[in-house]
Amino acid sequence: MEAVALKDRENQIHIKGEAPFEIVCDKDSLAGAVSQRACVFCGSRVVLYPIADALHLVHGPIGCAVYTWDIRGALSSGPELHRLSFSTDLQEMDVIFGGEKKLYNALTELIDRHSPRAAFVYSTCIVGIIGDDLEAICRRVEAEKGIPVIPVKSEGFKGNKRAGYKAACDAMFRLIGTGDTSGISPYSINILGDFNLAGEIWMIRDYYQRMGVEVVANITGDGRVDDIRRAHGASLNVVQCSGSTMELADMMEKKYGIPSLRVSYFGIEDMSEALYDIARFFKDEKMLERTRKLVQGEAQKLILELEPYRKTLAGKKAAIYVGGSFKAFSLVKAFRLIDMQVVLVGSQTGTVEDYKELEAITDPGTVIVDDSNPLELTSFLKEKEVDVFVGGVKERPIAYKLGIGFCDHNHERKEALAGFDGMLNFAREVYSSVMSPVWRFVPRHSSKDLGNKV
């Protein structure tokens, strides 16, 4: 293989079957490497963003707020306050003399204007440096306005995205336990870690309803402050993929004794498993029966619909590079379902255990990477002759530049990929990229010789 890895990074890459397993992760990105990784603030913003009736105020210079304005496909069935980008837009004077006054005034102004159910105030790098006391300002405004005003400690440089997930969980944990839980069914859950991209959580909620399970709070897709405040009244936390909200489930377990279940809604196998796990948890024969019917019905329908895609896509090669490694597992299985071969898999924020599990479920020769960068990714894509690459928006142009198919699987996508219908959408997405006739023109498959057909 071409030597492309920066020296210090070599142990963040692993090829299955080559050496005893060891991968270094959770390392700060290396200076000068073009990492795909984001900052703490980004992690917090991703998790809290879909809470649609909260005010999300970014305390800092304009960039951090403007780059996160309405970039994600997290839908709301009601209020859409989350789609606006609020910033204190710190100026030089604020940086010199402190931004507390501006923050106070901005918060007051925005709460008066929008009457949100709660406000989240995100700190950014610069706020960590100038040392504004967010906690104090938030307390003051909370007392004055009578809504929860919660600081999110998301200074970008204080770690990676995962630290941001943690900060977001801390912030939500302050809300939980403050609402009235009367009237909640014993068969009740919170949905954690689904962000309602392209309306996914609506499909999932529909399954739960058909099973006879009450959803107390969406955390956070199509989320509402008041639901989250009473989330401690649920009997079970169902945590999907990404690990972004696992932290919160653990905190809730400790404080409120609510157990949690880790699931994935992606692919037939994982989706069905998720529903069965929940039904089993409630130990209710009738519910189990309803679930069986639901799963069988949906799965049968889906298998039939998938068949034409499977037939054409069988044997094609896929590469996966996504944010969370749990999502990577599901993708590996989903590709298997349509008989495609996964030749590379990696994530930005996997843990050692995650990578061990990945290694267990992949074929020999599969490249496994942690926190990769464009150069590395492309050399693998080329070497492995990949047909379709699944990644985030930053990976797309690289794939396209080299004439490789691409499927969006990140927080910005506008296609629903979760649930049974989602699997079909996924197959269609992959199909519409892999089978497009445009690849015949890309240099990979054709000579540049103009007029060679004459």
Binding site: V34, C64, F86, I129, L375, K382, K394, L402
Partner: protein
């Protein structure tokens, strides 16, 4: 004519980006250059994402990836380490370093660190050149970052020497198609042109077999060095004036004549540009452009009734706003509000200069605006269309009027980098787009739905 702008403390849906982003884009237009942000990782990742969504091109922006420890003790060591890593990995010819809010605030002296680094690495082989620009986002927008980077590049790289015959062209931030067009124009006038930056290839490249770590294209370093010896500089931007621009620096340090003109959008502003080129080249306007102008005038006439008297809101980067306002004015559309997130303090004056002899009434002009404020004003202005980048879409949707997409970012359509704004050809495209959008709106709203006009 400017009334009191609304004055809010908070910013909602900003109409500006941060300064380092502009600097990174400017650096991307230099041959063999890799932009480098001295700061924490997040900023670089966000900016890459933002830029990619417009260009659909890979863009690598390296970062010092500062963590908490570095924020306390200074980011110097990480900057040096990062430069070495980028140099080894990308083999760039130039690394363009922009500071971020973080490093500006903790007070890292990038210039000094670079001096140290140069000393430390003396005698090394294959090290690139370095250029650094100060880009605190808490003052100014991405446009200050863009112009600042261009200024720093010429300040730190342009050399003196015997005067040559070249013309420096500093177009500011325009589309890849615009840069391509400008090169063609200069060549057609027989002028040896050094255009800085040049994003025509680097951000609108071909499909490739081999991934290029650093895409081909961009202004050659050799040419940048020669800019101090050029005959003259042409710089687009009526709001620039005496600020620290590339043209002003070349004039001040190397005594290169500087011609600041408006961005050539529409006939009037393009005539001024072509007039200048005639003077500098001693040649007549090439046939191709005379023809294009003639066709454009013919098209203006054919379409004038569909656009006359319509009201438009224009927003975005200040100099583009000036250009678009001038163009709208000359086709009979009334700009009623010109807004920007920038704060040059010269926007109103520049619009007056460019449109004073056509518009019976100057539009409201506001700097430092965000989309909440624009939206609020829009209600009473009852515009027929808005002209600007993609971020105005929610406003267009709310008002149910067409959005004519120009500038950056175009995040909700393909081909933003191929929109041609400049020259007679650009005006032709803009005119057809706008006229058709207004016709389509009327057609869609009509109960009859004629299939001819």
């Amino acid at each position: 004519m400017s009334k009191n702008p609304p004055n809010y403390i908070s910013t909602t849906n900003a109409c500006k980006l941060c300064r380092p982003l502009g600097a990174c884009l400017a650096f991307k237009g230099i041959e063999g250059a890799v932009p480098y942000l001295h700061g924490s990782q997040g900023c670089a990742t966000y900016m890459r994402r933002y830029i990619i969504s417009h260009y659909n091109e890979p863009i690598d922006i390296a970062s010092s990836s500062l963590s908490e420890k570095h924020a306390v003790y200074g980011g110097g060591p990480n900057l040096k380490l990062g430069l070495t890593n980028v140099a080894a990995k990308y083999r760039p010819k130039l690394i363009g370093i922009a500071a971020t809010c973080l490093t500006e605030t903790i007070g890292d002296d990038v210039r000094m660190i670079l001096q140290e680094y140069r000393r430390d690495t003396e005698g090394s082989q294959g090290l690139p050149d370095f250029v650094n620009v100060s880009t605190p986002s808490y003052s100014g927008t991405h446009m200050e970052g863009f112009h600042g980077a261009v200024a720093s590049v010429v300040e730190q790289m342009a050399e003196g020497g015997p005067r040559g015959g070249e013309i420096n062209l500093l177009p500011g931030f325009v589309s890849s198609a615009d840069y391509r067009y400008l090169k063609e124009v200069m060549a057609d006038f027989g002028l040896e042109c050094i255009m800085l930056p040049d994003l025509s290839e680097t951000m609108d490249g071909e499909a490739l077999l081999q991934y290029e770590k650093v895409p081909v294209g961009g202004t050659p370093l050799k040419s940048i060095k020669a800019m101090g010896r050029s005959r003259a500089t042409i710089e687009f931007g009526r709001t620039l004036k005496e600020t620290r621009t590339g043209g002003c620096i070349l004039k001040g340090v190397r005594d290169v004549d500087n011609f600041q003109i408006g961005m050539p959008v529409g006939i009037e502003e393009t005539d001024r540009f072509f007039g200048l080129l005639r003077k500098l080249s001693g040649r007549d306007v090439p046939h191709k452009y005379a023809k294009a102008r003639g066709r454009l005038v013919d098209a203006y006439v054919d379409g004038h009734k569909y656009v006359f008297g319509k009201k438009a809101i224009v927003y975005g980067e200040e100099d583009l706003v000036v250009g678009v306002a001038a163009f709208l004015a000359e086709i009979g559309i009334r700009p009623v509000l010109c807004a920007s997130g920038g704060t040059s303090r010269r926007l109103a004056e520049a619009i007056l200069e460019a449109t004073g002899d056509i518009l019976p009434e100057q539009p409201e002009v506001h700097e430092g605006m965000d989309f909440f404020e624009i939206s609020e004003l829009a209600e009473s202005l009852a515009p027929d269309l808005i002209v600007g980048h993609s971020k105005g879409y929610p406003l267009a949707r709310k008002l149910a009027i067409p959005l004519i997409r120009v500038g950056f970012p175009i995040h909700d359509r393909v081909g933003g980098q191929r929109i041609l704004h400049l020259g007679y050809h650009g005006a032709q495209q803009l005119f057809d787009t706008i006229t058709n959008a207004l016709i389509a709106k009327k057609q869609d709203d009509s109960e009859v739905g004629y299939s001819y006009m």
